[in-house]
Amino acid sequence: MTEELTATEKPSDNPVLYVARPMATAARQFAKSLLRPSTIVYPYERLEDPKFREQVQVASGKPIGVGAVWDNYRGVHALNIATCISCNLCAFSCPDLCIEMVTVPGGDPKHAKKCPEIDYGKCSYCGFCSDACPEGCLTMTTRYELSTPKRSEMVYSPQKLYEVYRTKLPMNPIRLERPANEDSILLDPPLCIGCNACARDCPTQCITMLEIPKPTAKPGEKLPKRIWKEPVVNDSDCVRCGTCVSVCPKECLFWGSRR
């Protein structure tokens, strides 16, 4: 050992001492715990109470201030339905497949608005969904009490998640920045038929269909039967949800680097 044992750490052959010394340590701890208990009386006191957060001073040894629920605790989600753009990214990024996109009232009649419904029986509170959310409308709160007598109540509908949002609990303040060299949506022009499916389903409306010149057919050549338009993706508005790639009937949109 690098450190020599001090006198109180050395065992004693005196039977009185070898019982008395550890007992003295325990008695000291007991006295300290009477002055300032290490536990809280849970249903009456709560970790999110301001007194656990504000007391940063050391009272009787135990550093307080740790011991509180911090703002970036990953508890029950809060969903702001108004800003949700139905991009599906939360459901795609969930490792436990506990998020399902369900239709909520609102949105234009052609495209139903879909918001996440979370099954807390499966959720592992990893926070990948709130990291993925491009609009910051799905966040995690400090709420941790989930017990319920019914299994069906573990499934939180978008409306129930919105109620959590309205309680104004502290939200997870951490926002991830998008990677600098993020891939873009690229087009394979010969395959495109100009069907407008990508622009129609894009949640941010960042795809516009631009007209392309119709080539003049040479004698004997047959032009492909298509609409002479091509999608152009606005990279700064794109949230990289990949909806356009999934709906493309000809698989002509794909991920790639512009560089």
């Binding site: 750490e9 605790y73 990214l89 795609f92 592992s124 990291d131 920045e177 060299n181 909806t243 790639g256």
Partner: protein, 381 residues
Amino acid sequence: MSDIWINMGPQHPMTHGLWNLRVRIEGELIRDVDPEVGYLHRGIEKISEDRHYNEVVTLMDRTCYVAGLSWEHLYMLAAEQALHIDPPERAQYLRVLCDEFQRIGSHIMWYAAFVQDIGLMSPFLYGMRDRDLVLDLFQSYTGARMTYEYMRVGGVRNDLPPGFTHQARKVLDWLTDRFHEYDQLCLGSTIFHKRCDNLGVLSGKDAIAYGVTGPMLRSAGVKRDLRKDRPYAVYDRLEFDVAVADGADVTGRYLVRMEELRQSVRILRQVLDWLDHHPGPVLADRVPRWLGAPYAPVGQEGYLLKRRFPTGVGFSSVEEPHGEAQAYVVNQGGEHPYRVKFRSPVYSNVSAARQYLVGYHVADIPPIMGSVDVCVGEVDR
């Protein structure tokens, strides 16, 4: 008197988890032992093949439930090697911060469980109380107390909250005093020495032959610590000593772990000083999109393979609180790892049970197995 086989486990206070120790006894004397593991097998290696590179961290926290961040670090080192990504310097320091706080948390947890095995109740409560401070610190910057999901390929998820280093230093000061009390309660008592000296002896030669690593190996006087021998992250820039004890018995393992707690505090003070003065990014900016939080949706695998992302193989080994853990990740260009393999240190430590249990009495099994620090989640994976 004839021999009989008895089962200690799968439900037994000695096991600290779900495993079974079959013991052949003659009276009170142990003649043979046969450890049986596998009750907690979840197929983490196979599940990893179906997850994106980042999503595997959710499994790593559940591999060893008292040292989740060490396992996250282990996997990330291998994955980054396979994907050719370098994490920024500050992220590496943050990972060392995680590792060492995790070592403190794990060793205090071991102390609490071990003293209860030898019949002490008060130190158990002290240990559990003090470990909570470490868990609270984890919660303040990772967002959870046990399942952290903090590390990402190419760095860590977020930076420290303001005021963290101040709190962390206060916790370290407080814990340093407690380590002194732990020693008073155990080493200061002759009863402890009568119970634990020359018990469960595993010589250094046997330990190396069985692949036993970690505090069990170092208690036999073998100076082997991956943080010194094969430095990863930024351990080569930090000053610390390798804790070694002689005797190769239960007391030796206690001494090694207590010394490691003090060395971890020493490392952490250096890391906190560095973090105070060197702000910077915590996530590499050259991370491919398909590793980020939003993933390429269904039907993208073909394109990703077509683009020919660089393939690679990653191997990493980390000095985990229980011993040397190793990971092997094969990247064949897709968005999931092709193969992931983990080496658990406790698996080897438990496999050598015949060497350090035979010849002792049945009542010696709890302290000896307690000194091994079994974490079944990691053995069975």
